[in-house]
Every structure is written in C-alpha cells, then in structure tokens.
C-alpha cells in the first residue's frame, strides 16, 4: 500500500500543472473530464511516467484508465511485474 501511496503522490505532482488553479486532485479525479487531457497530452504524460518510473506502459491499458487512482494501480502493477 505504501508503494501505491508513493506512486499516487508522484502522479499528483506530475498532474497538478494540468489542473485549474485551486483544483484539488484525488484518486477519483478524471483525466479527461476533470483535467481536460486530450489524446496528445495523454501520450506526453505516458512518456513522462515511463521516464519517472523506468517502465514501459502498454497502450492497451490506456482505455482502462479513467481516474488518477486507475492510473496509479496500473503503474503499481507494471512496476511489480518488471
């Protein structure tokens, strides 16, 4: 769980610039609906996360990721299986 929390904190840090001023991020924050990330921004985000966590993120998982919490769980799994 500590691992999950650590990844979550890093995701908040990376995603904060995409939020509106004063917007509070949570595990339920939606990447598209709440942060307005379009497909290009999502692809840039993937590259940044891959560098940060030293993993390759398959494109296949992108359609399953709706919230910051979803993303955190996927990254945690990828780090466990590397």
């Amino acid at each position: 769980m500590a691992h999950y929390e650590a990844i979550l904190l890093q995701l908040y840090e990376i995603l904060r610039p995409h939020g509106q001023e004063g917007q509070t991020l949570s595990e339920e924050t939606e990447l598209v609906a709440d942060l307005n990330l379009d497909s290009l921004k999502v692809m840039e985000l993937l590259l940044e996360l891959e560098e940060r966590f030293d993993i390759s993120i398959p494109l296949n998982i992108v359609s399953d990721v709706r919230t910051i919490g979803d993303f955190t769980r996927q990254i945690e799994q990828l780090m466990e299986h590397r």
Partner: protein, 395 residues
C-alpha cells in the same frame, strides 16, 4: 440522439473551418491534365500533394496494361481470393514483387492500409509484444490494436529509447515485433535503420518495416530504406503500397519467412475483402517494371526534391529535418496553417494540410510531395507561391 452526440464536436470544428476557408478536405478535382496538374474550381492547379513520386499515373504503358486487363478480364473480381479464387495476375504480381525484393514470399492485399492490418494482426497476438515508433502511420496502430498483442511505443527514431525498452522486455524479446517506417510520411525523415536493425539482432526480436513512402524512392534499385541502409537481411517483413510510386492502389508484404504463405489463411483483412481488380494488378505490374528499368525517374524525383527543399529553406520556412520527396513546412498555430493553405490554393498550388492530432508533435503542417513528373518550372512556381503568401502574411 445519444448515439450521434459524439459528432457534435466534429461538426463544430468543420463549421468554424468553413467560415474562414475553402474546405481543404473537400477539394474536388474536376479534371486531371497530367500527374502534376488538374482543373480545380475551374482553374488549372499544380498538384504538389499527391504522393505520385514517380509520376506514373498517366504512363502510357501502365494505362494500356490496365485497359487491356479490363477488356480481357472485366472490371472486378467480385470477391475474395479465398472464396472466388486467384486471378492469374494476382499470382504474377506476387511473384514479380518477391523477385524484385529478392525474397521467397509475397502476399498482396487490396490496399496498403489492409496490408498493415492483415500482416501485423496475423504475426502478433495475445502474449506477444509490438514495439512501434511513435510516428508510425494509423494503419500500423490499427493493426497493433487488432492483433491483441501488448503495444509499446518508443520515441520517434530514438534508438537509445528502443534499446532501453528491449532491455526491459528481456526474455520476451523473441516474442517481440519491432515496427518502423522507411520514410516517415509527415516530416519526410528516414528511419535510423542501421541502429534499429543492430538492436533487433542483439535482442533477438523481429523487425517489420513499412516502405510505403520509400519504395521507388530510396535505394540503388528503388527497394527502399532497407536497401539504402544495407540491412535488408535484418528486416524480416517489408510492407508496402501500390498507391504511391506505383500509381495505383493495393498493398503487399514480402519476407523470407515461410509463414508468409500461411499469413493469408490467418489474416482477416486478406480473407474477408474483395481482391484487387484486374486493371489495378495490370497497371501495378507495368509500373513495377518501369520502376525497375528506369532509375532516371528516381534521379528526376530527387533533383526536384532538392530544388524545392533548398528553395523553401532559403525562404526561411521551418522544414522537416532532411531533404526528401516529402517536404513538410511547419507552422505553430492551426489558424496560420489554414490561412496559408488558402493563400497557396488561391495561387493555384495544392498541398496537403495536416492538423493535430494527425501531426507528430502537436504542430500543424503543409506537406508537399514532389514527383519526378514535376517540371523545374512547376517547382519554381510552387516556391514563388510560398514566397508571395509569406510576404502577404508578413510571416
């Protein structure tokens, strides 16, 4: 109503484009005068966005072959080769392509798009990995999705990034297919193929190269980027199209792997669509012969490419990283790009307008494609139009 709601955003975008511009996506070519000129809106326009690299669409030998095929074999095959059988021309075209590439096997598909779909989805499946260059064409992305394999992008032409990702895959490398393009369609840059081929060998993966824009354009015999880079032995599968240098429509894959003969039985985009019609097969075979026997077409193409690239560079435009028959003029804002496209169109020059998200880096492009059939005068007129629109816009 809810089903169709998703089109609202698209409709709004199209409406706002129509308010400021001719619709670049609905240009109607009323009559073709040559491979490089057409009547559009009642005016003669220079075509500088056709991918007609060798200018063979009006080649008398290709036309004659197509006309004879229509007279002798009819207008279409009316079904799949699996169900309706092979026409003798399909087999001859596959044999000639295999011989041209010095490969044992060739499968022909009904379009280049279907060739990527059919080959990628047959070669890779669940449990396998596909590593694709981030700038690959949509047909490659769609083939990857259709395969059910794990799909991972590497940064465009970044072989250090590819190496890192192959290292991460470790024991999964023998189940990994790397995919790149010989010449990238948006910026006209070549694949870093020597390095990619070395990484493929080092890690024991497979390599598929899409030579759609490089067939007839690169290499001493026109076989593409793999020939030019001297690494044909390391490229397991070459995919290509008939719709550019060969002036028709259709696609193919050549390989020395005997599985190519089985791919047809495992490929839904091969099985469940009508095969190439006889006229297309015939004109493609004639065009391939021209490509093989007339290297001067390639020389003309490159002379024109350098002439346009160098002139646009001298005019101060931001271009793709290297001269090639695909010359991308880079713009920051979509609005500037649309306005510039209109300026060129009003000066009777037609180029391709490419807006995000179809562009590699989120910018916008006006893409010129040069043909061996362009005259030096036409190339100069294209440059003059770019210069005068630039001056009018004070860019």
């Amino acid at each position: 109503m809810a089903l169709l709601k998703k089109f609202r955003q698209l409709a709004d975008a199209r409406k706002s484009l129509a308010m400021v511009s001719e619709d670049p996506f609905r240009v109607t070519i009323e009559r073709l005068l040559s491979p490089t000129e057409a009547i559009v809106n009642g005016r003669p326009v220079i075509l500088a966005g056709t991918n007609n690299y060798l200018g063979l669409t009006f080649d008398p030998q290709c036309i004659e072959a197509a006309v004879n095929a229509v007279r002798e074999q009819g207008t279409g095959t009316t079904g799949s080769r699996m169900a309706n059988g092979n026409f003798i021309g399909h087999l001859a075209l596959e044999r000639e392509l295999a011989e041209f590439y010095g490969r044992r096997w060739c499968d022909v598909f009904s379009t280049g798009y279907l060739a990527n779909l059919g080959v990628i989805a047959a070669l890779a499946g669940p449990g396998d990995v596909i590593l694709i260059d981030a700038d690959c064409h949509a047909s490659i992305y769609d083939g990857c999705r259709m395969s059910g394999a794990e799909v991972i992008r590497f940064r465009h032409n970044d072989t250090a990034d590819l190496h890192k990702r192959l290292t991460r895959l470790g024991k999964r490398c023998p189940n990994t297919l790397i995919i790149a393009e010989g010449l990238y369609s948006m910026l006209g840059d070549r694949a870093a193929l020597v390095e990619i081929a070395a990484l493929k060998r080092e890690h024991g993966a497979y390599l598929l190269l899409d030579e759609a824009h490089s067939l007839g354009v690169l290499g001493e015999r026109g076989r593409g980027r793999s020939e030019e880079a001297g690494v044909e032995d390391s490229v397991d599968f070459i995919v290509g199209t008939f719709s550019k240098s060969l002036g028709a429509t259709g696609g193919f894959c050549v390989s020395d792997h005997p599985v190519m003969e089985l791919v047809r039985y495992a490929s839904r985009p091969y099985i469940f669509t009508a095969s190439l019609c006889p006229s297309v097969v015939a004109s493609t075979r004639a065009a391939l012969l021209r490509l093989r026997t007339e290297p001067e077409l390639r020389l003309k193409l490159w002379t024109n490419a350098h002439r346009l690239y160098d002139s646009l560079k001298d005019l101060g435009f931001g271009l793709g990283p290297e001269p090639s028959p695909i010359i991308a003029v880079r713009f920051g804002q979509a609005e500037d790009t649309i306005a510039f496209w209109n300026g060129l169109f009003r000066q009777d020059v037609y180029v391709n307008m490419i807006l995000p998200p179809a562009t590699p880096d989120g910018g916008s492009l006006l893409r010129c494609s040069v043909s061996a059939a362009h005259t030096p005068d036409q190339i100069d007129r294209i440059c003059q139009s770019f210069a005068s629109v630039k001056a009018a816009f004070s860019l």
